[in-house]
């Protein structure tokens, strides 16, 4: 048994303490130890983006991050987006605008879209297309994904304005 390292981190708002092998990738920790199977594994070398999660609000590739590197961090995965049975506007618009297609890239796309809209709440379609170039969709349905992000952005702005 290889030696383990103790890490404590917050995932989707819940604190966790765990003993992990240093070589355990963050994506495997999230899936195997925490049961968050929404975090998908694709290329395992940082190219495809389906494993994208947020670390302290910034998108990262969890397949080229060790779990030990997330010690003390605040991690958000696709499982943390919905509020109970109410989907996040991005999830809802991905569904309404056919942005899911086969669904494999969706968790990464959604988390990357969260980061994009946090820094730019009103992006142009060209800005969305450029920003999601970090994530591959092999159904090649980027048009639907872009439309979904734009629609969700409008809804999120409306919610924010209504609240202020």
């Amino acid at each position: 048994m290889a030696s383990t390292t103790r890490i404590s981190l917050t995932v989707n708002g819940r604190p966790h303490v765990a003993e992990v092998e240093p070589r355990k990738l963050l994506v495997d920790f999230l899936r195997e130890d925490l049961g968050l199977y929404g975090v998908h594994i694709g290329c395992e070398h940082g190219v495809c983006g389906t494993c994208t999660v947020l670390l302290n609000g910034a998108s990262i590739r969890s397949c080229i991050t060790f779990a030990v590197q997330a010690d003390g961090a605040d991690i958000s995965t696709v499982e943390g987006l919905a509020r109970g049975s109410e989907l996040h506007p991005l999830q809802d618009e991905f569904s309404a605008k056919q942005g899911l297609q086969c669904g494999y890239c969706t968790p990464g796309m959604l988390m990357r879209a969260c980061e994009i809209l946090a820094s730019n709440p009103d992006p142009t379609p060209a800005e969305v297309r450029s920003a999601i170039a970090s994530n591959l969709c092999r159904c090649t349905g980027y048009q639907f994904i872009t439309e979904a992000v734009i629609s969700a952005a409008a809804r999120m702005r409306a919610v924010k304005e209504a609240a202020s």
Binding site: L25, E44, Q69
Partner: protein, 289 residues
């Protein structure tokens, strides 16, 4: 596609990190910065360090500060922090422009400037930046720290002047207020460059007082296009000088063909991108006045 086992430490001081590196030399200890190059290599089992020293908790390795005419960047500073920094945009716009071309945001959120330079991928953007600027890289080892000129630091593909027991701690970028441009050809947006050119020009009226050009993708590591720089020094800023420099730049190139591009294609790209880089850098220098 999973990394091999290794022992791990996350020290909080540089002295501790340097000590661990020496202590575990037999286990092929390596330093872990952002991991954006090292972890994929480990996933492919192309790298099998027996001991990883994670620098993320080491105090004082991250951050950007101005020391007179030098912008000092901690080796553990994330690329996305540099990309967003108003100080970098002002004092080292060449670095800011180049970093925008390094992979995608999620990689730049984790990847560090020091990690990229110490990894020394021959197709990476940052080596050309430090070479053009004449930056110094600071290394800490058991005997203390030393400054290494960028030209000496870059020794070959994945090879630097860092000794096995040394850690890159700082990058010292001379402040640049003249014209600049970082341009590259890559087959897919955000891929490694096939050919990249870092350009700096300083004008004196309608003449070029000084130019610095560094190229990636045309030699085993990033190189200075000294022949082109000589052509440009004192020349008037016109299309003729730009063309002559683009021709001269090829003199310093010794590209090898690979699956990305043949040697001839790389030479042709070098001429084209030297021309584009110079045109952009000159126009920026002129608009600055």
């Amino acid at each position: 596609m999973k990394p091999p086992p290794f022992s791990y430490a996350a020290p909080t001081t540089l002295a501790e990190a340097v000590g661990l590196l020496a202590e575990h030399a037999d286990a092929e200890a390596r330093v872990l910065a952002g991991g954006q190059s090292l972890i994929p290599l480990m996933n492919f089992r192309l790298a099998k360090p027996g001991y990883l020293i994670d620098l993320r908790n080491v105090a004082g390795l991250s951050g950007i500060r101005r020391e007179g005419d030098v912008l000092v960047v901690g080796a553990m500073t994330r690329m996305s922090e540099l990309e967003r920094s108003p100080e970098v945009a002002l004092a080292a716009p060449l670095a800011a422009e180049a970093i925008g071309l390094v992979a995608h945001t999620p990689i730049r959120n984790s990847g560090t400037i020091g990690g990229s330079l110490a990894h020394a991928d021959p197709a990476a953007e940052l080596p050309a930046v430090v070479l053009a600027l004449g930056a110094e890289l600071v290394a800490a080892g058991p005997a203390g720290t030393r400054r290494i000129a960028a030209a000496e630091f870059l020794q070959g593909p994945f090879s630097t002047a860092l000794a096995p027991d040394e850690i890159l701690t700082e990058i010292r970028l001379p402040v640049w207020h003249g014209g600049y441009a970082f341009v590259e050809f890559s087959r897919i947006h955000a891929n490694f460059a096939v050919v990249a050119v870092a350009t700096l020009v300083e004008l004196d009226g309608d003449r070029i007082r000084r130019a610095a050009l560094a190229l990636t993708g045309v030699a085993p590591t990033a190189i200075r296009a000294t022949a082109a720089e000589q052509v440009l020094a004192g020349a008037s800023c016109d299309a003729q000088a730009v063309s002559a420099a683009a021709e001269a730049a090829a003199e310093n190139c010794s590209p090898a063909g690979d699956l990305h591009a043949s040697a001839l294609t790389r030479l042709s790209l070098a001429r084209t991108y030297v021309r584009r880089g110079l045109e952009l850098a000159i126009s920026r220098a002129q608009n600055e006045r």
